[in-house]
Symmetry: C2
Subunit: 283 residues, 2 copies
């Protein structure tokens, strides 16, 4: 929630003091109302899928949305949207690619000659790329920038939470208890860095048998209510393991997926938070 003309703003926000000195200025002409990182700690719980569906739902609600793919060494956002490498360097910065629905996307994969090229980088380079995706990309006017974070609690999540003004984090988990432990680490990291948490999405919460309709809890029973209860955070919703979602993702057509409507609630949570904030109080 930083506009180029309001750089001092963030320092006045509670919980932001530790991050404020390092906050970076976005490219000229960029104005982002809300920044929402999607994080998990654990890999493979469908963080990119949730980030993509969140962007789609906010777009359908009439918002102008961007996705900053901060998973520099394992980027999957362009593939989900069927966007091919097409870097455009304009005067003043990098031009993001645009999805069919008009979502603006920046990912390291758009800048590589081949999408399966490995990016063998040490932390400081990774952190540098993430910072540049904030400072050097011509995002323009956005209502929301969704940031797809890599798994873990290392360089990229640390850089995003420290140097980009975050409005609220969406946590993604899966039912397995092993996941629960690692997700708790991500919640702890967000808290320690003063980033507000909007809520949790549990992904991969069982699959329906296509023949008999039986619910198979592949990763065990849902742990979502337990995590949310003990961490004191909101349960945004639960996504099943849905072969249709995999198929659409593989075809680059995630925008056609009908599920995950509950993610639309993120828009009203952000607006309510902003209204409360403007009234001077922040709970």
């Amino acid at each position: 929630m930083v506009r180029p003309d309001q750089k001092g703003d963030a320092t006045s926000r509670e919980g932001d003091k530790s991050r404020a000195p390092k906050e970076l200025t976005p490219a000229p002409g960029t104005s982002v109302r809300h920044v929402v990182p999607v994080m998990s700690g654990k890999g493979g719980v469908g963080k990119s899928t949730v980030a993509a569906l969140l962007a789609v739902r906010l777009t359908m609600a009439g918002w102008q949305v961007g996705i900053l793919d901060a998973d520099v060494t394992g980027p999957s956002i362009p593939k989900l949207f069927g966007i091919k490498p097409s870097p455009v360097v304009a005067k003043g910065g990098l031009v993001p690619a645009t999805s069919r629905l008009g979502i603006r996307v920046m990912s390291l994969n758009l800048l590589l000659p081949r999408e399966d090229e490995p990016v063998i980088w040490r932390g400081p380079l990774i952190a540098g790329a993430v910072r540049q995706f904030w400072t050097d990309v011509l995002w323009g006017q956005l209502d929301c920038l969704v940031v797809d974070l890599p798994p873990g609690t290392g360089d990229a999540p640390l850089t995003v939470l420290q140097s980009i003004p975050v409005d609220g984090v969406v946590i993604v988990s899966a039912p397995q208890q092993l996941t629960t432990m690692v997700v708790s680490k991500a919640i702890g990291m967000a808290r320690r860095l003063g980033a507000p948490i909007l809520g949790l999405v549990e992904n991969m919460s069982g699959v329906r048998c296509s023949r008999c309709g039986e619910l198979i809890q592949v990763f065990g029973p849902s742990q979502a209510r337990r995590i949310c209860g003990s961490a004191g955070i909101r349960l945004l919703g639960v996504l099943p393991l849905d072969p249709e979602l995999s198929r659409l993702g593989d075809r680059g057509a995630i925008e056609e997926y009908a599920g995950g409507e509950f993610l639309g609630v993120v828009a009203s949570l952000l607006e309510a938070d902003q209204a409360r904030h403007q009234r001077g109080g922040r709970s």
Copy 2:
């Protein structure tokens, strides 16, 4: 395959020249016959599970096995084996924990006061921890040290492939095409750093309905043969999405899982490679 008394050995191996200068000496009394990193590029494909099952199969074949959990910010190995934090600092180094079957384990989670404590570290610290797990842990005599790498192609995988003498990498993938792309990056990284690849394990390859037996290809049809064919690597085997495996992992009882026998082939692949190597040729 470095013994303290044979430090110069690795420099004579083909493909190792770029890594040799940085190779690190393990703790006194340590002798490791084979080092096998398990990597994927993509998170959540069950890399830790495959690493654990590989260690179990090699142990059942009579080998003395250790697991170095290099996933510093998202460690899951202790949980899979039901090992609680119990760091023992002895004269000369850190003593690894021991599983029920006798597998020696070192993980950052064993050194944390609480297992859900986040480790918010930048790359150089992560690389440092991984290096110390090789140089400061009293591994003793091991036939095989399995290294569980974090997702991505960043600091930890780079450090392992550059500073520990690797005998062969096991690649883990899952059927989704999105995964295929990221797994190709990991294969490219191993190749570029001169690490031989033992083969690929496809995990999460469909689930059987517990009521009607229907095979549900949650993440789409298997891509294993296609990846192996185009990359020219061996298919070690395929693991289904098995709720029993999740349950045992969550209970810390992964050693009781009956599947994944095919992973035993890794022992003979390593021995064959060593024999060929000792005869002077390396294919």
